[in-house]
């Protein structure tokens, strides 16, 4: 059991500097991705998940930029690198796939060429023929039928599921240590979603690769993740291994998310939703960002942001109630822990 971490994000803050002021889309995030593990980053849309991923890949666009914090890849701080140095890691050591398989591939280039390009950029000595062979190889590995034929297809000739497989092939072709998948299945049918998730899990296991999977759907992370981070308004609210998180949910926000996963047999009319809306990031409330939607809100929540505290082994939570709850159901919990 190696405890080596592929990626460590420490105190990351990334903001957009708009005319109206600073929007801290990522507001002090700590996140660790151990080698060979699948880590989930969950939260409602707009909470800063994509910005976290884009900060890692150096994809933030003006007026957004990293304000402070460290992003350590094998001990090297990516935020300190020049564009050129960062580019050498992107696509090779870390790669990323995006939410929309329909628009994430260049419509005027053949998909094979687009995947091949990743190889050619990072290995100057590889021949075109050899690169093509490897592309067809990876196409087969990610389950693209008739790989040779698909090589010369244009994106519009493929289904959404196939396109996402092409994206995965593109991300995997240089055998990265870390794959960041930003809502990789949100745009797909449920059956295709299950296939893609299984594929990512298998690839991860076979290659000892780590995956950061970003989603707003707790159901997705439950299926394949080892470790889960729950994010809200730019901050991590709760972090625990998957079973611990589901069995001993501590944060009221996570509880709300769990309760709003529809289950078979539920009466759709009584589907639980968290009341209220995400706060405006431009004018964040003084205290806890979740206070105005929280059923258990107390006086201090409105004036003071709680710290992310270790509430149980491997279980962090950003809530004043986290420690108290420990007392309430503390006797009932055994095991859980690391997996």
């Amino acid at each position: 059991m190696s405890t080596e971490n592929v990626l460590e994000i420490r105190g990351l803050k990334s903001s957009f500097f708009t005319d109206k002021g600073e929007v801290p889309a990522v507001n002090g995030v700590d996140l660790v991705i151990p080698r060979g593990k699948i880590v989930g980053l969950v939260g409602e849309s707009g909470c800063g998940k994509s910005m976290t991923a884009k900060s890692v890949m150096g994809l933030l666009k003006y007026p957004g930029r990293i304000v402070e914090g460290e992003i350590l890849l094998g001990g090297k701080d990516l935020t300190k690198l020049s564009d050129r140095e960062l580019r050498e890691h992107c696509g090779k050591d870390i790669s990323m796939i995006f939410q929309e398989p329909m628009t994430s591939l260049n419509p005027v280039l053949k998909v094979g060429r687009q995947v091949q390009e990743t190889l050619l950029v990072h290995d100057k000595n590889i021949g075109k023929e050899e690169a093509k062979r490897q592309v067809i190889d990876i196409f087969k590995k990610v389950g693209i039928p008739e790989a040779e034929k698909r090589y010369s297809c244009y994106p519009h000739e493929l289904s959404g599921g196939l396109r996402q497989r092409v994206m995965i092939a593109m991300a995997m072709v240089c055998r990265p240590a870390l794959l960041i998948a930003d809502e990789p299945t949100t745009a797909l049918d449920v059956t295709i979603e299950a296939q893609i998730l299984r594929l990512m899990k298998d690839l991860c296991r076979q290659n000892n690769m780590s995956v950061l999977i970003i989603t707003h759907n707790l159901g997705v992370v439950a299926e394949i993740c080892d470790d889960i981070y729950v994010m809200y308004a730019g901050k991590i609210m709760e972090h625990a291994p998957v079973f611990e998180l589901f069995d001993h949910t501590r944060h009221p926000y996570t509880k709300g998310l769990l309760a709003s996963i529809p289950r078979i047999g539920d009466n759709p009319e009584f589907l639980h939703t968290i009341p209220g809306v995400v706060p405006n990031m431009l004018h964040l409330p003084k205290g806890c960002a979740f206070a105005n939607r929280c059923e258990l809100v107390q006086e201090r929540c409105r004036s003071q942001m709680p710290e992310l505290v270790t509430a149980a082994p491997d279980h962090e939570c950003r809530c004043f109630l986290a420690l108290e709850e420990e007392d309430q159901n503390g006797t009932g919990r055994k095991g859980g822990g690391d997996r």
Partner: protein
């Protein structure tokens, strides 16, 4: 292939419609062509004889049908004033117009594309502001102003060029710049906005996430996509230059189609006017068709259907 054929066939009704419209419009204008042709102080007898020989006494429908029939065989009638077949006059003038438009187009394409691309990659910074200021001047200043300005500066003051063109390539440079100036401006603006829009696309993020350098992202991924609308516009502008060279040709005394048309209007030379208008219409329609087909050749999403 089938689509291409279909598009080709679709221009036939357009052309027929244009012929009918030109024909009718020119008949509505007041004045008896025969009388104008003969000038003042002639007997009504002479006018009537000429009217008959020109078929002007026939019903409109008959005149129209015989015109279409003759046009299909390449016979556009005789010019009243020059006493030569209109077809011959047009074919004699056409090379000058082609030369002028091609030179203007090449100028406009090169200048427009390059400044558009530079503006896009320096978005909102000084080079961008500079180029966009220029291009705004380019699209808003009318052709005759540009022509006169160039004539004054480069031909009159500096004497690098002659005031009028003798048809040689060198003497066509000034008129080509004058004619292409507008298009260069609009191509630059379109290239810029298209490239900036494309740079926001998801697949640009994908390309950057692969570790591609900025230049490779722009040249390899963004440019081709952003060119799709621009190329259509470039082709359209070539054909519109051919039809729009009237003013430039008159100012620089280039014996092209445009000048032929101007003369035909001044002298009420109906067959010649009809001929030049019809000819330019064909050029524009065919130009648009080519622009359309170009788009589908470049865009694989459409190519497949073609």
């Amino acid at each position: 292939m089938k689509v291409i054929l279909k598009r080709f066939l679709s221009i036939i009704p357009v052309l027929l419609g244009v012929i009918v419209m030109i024909f009718i419009m020119l008949r509505i204008v007041p004045g008896d062509p025969a009388a104008i042709l003969l000038g003042e102080h002639v007997s009504p007898d002479t006018v009537e004889r000429l009217t008959k020989s020109m078929n002007l006494d026939q019903p409109m429908g008959v005149q129209l049908l015989s015109y279409i029939w003759n046009a299909l065989r390449g016979d556009l009638g005789m010019s009243y004033t020059m006493k030569r077949p209109v077809t011959e006059l047009i074919l004699g003038a056409f090379p000058y117009t082609v030369k002028l438009s091609l030179m203007a187009a090449v100028f406009a394409w090169a200048v427009g594309l390059i400044s558009g691309i530079i503006a896009a990659i320096t978005q909102n910074r000084i080079p961008d502001r500079l180029f966009m200021g220029f291009s705004l001047a380019g699209v808003s200043v009318p052709v005759f102003m540009t022509s006169l300005f160039l004539q004054y500066m480069l031909a009159f003051k500096i004497r690098a060029f002659s005031l009028t063109s003798d048809g040689s390539l060198y003497s066509m440079i000034l008129p080509a710049i004058a004619l292409g100036w507008n298009s260069a401006g609009s191509i630059a603006r379109m290239t810029r906005s298209s490239l900036i829009e494309v740079m926001q696309a998801d697949y640009i993020d994908t390309a950057r996430a692969k570790g591609l350098a900025r230049r490779a992202v722009i040249l390899g991924h963004a440019l081709k996509n952003s060119m799709l609308p621009v190329i259509t516009m470039m082709a359209l502008q070539l054909s519109s230059m051919m039809s729009g060279a009237v003013i430039t040709e008159s100012i620089f005394a280039i014996p092209g189609i445009g000048r032929l048309a101007t003369e035909a209007i001044q002298k009420r030379d109906m067959p010649l006017l009809q001929g030049t208008v019809l000819f330019t219409t064909v050029i524009v329609v065919v130009g648009n068709l080519i622009a359309d087909l170009l788009y589908s050749v470049l865009d694989p999403r459409i190519r497949k259907e073609a």
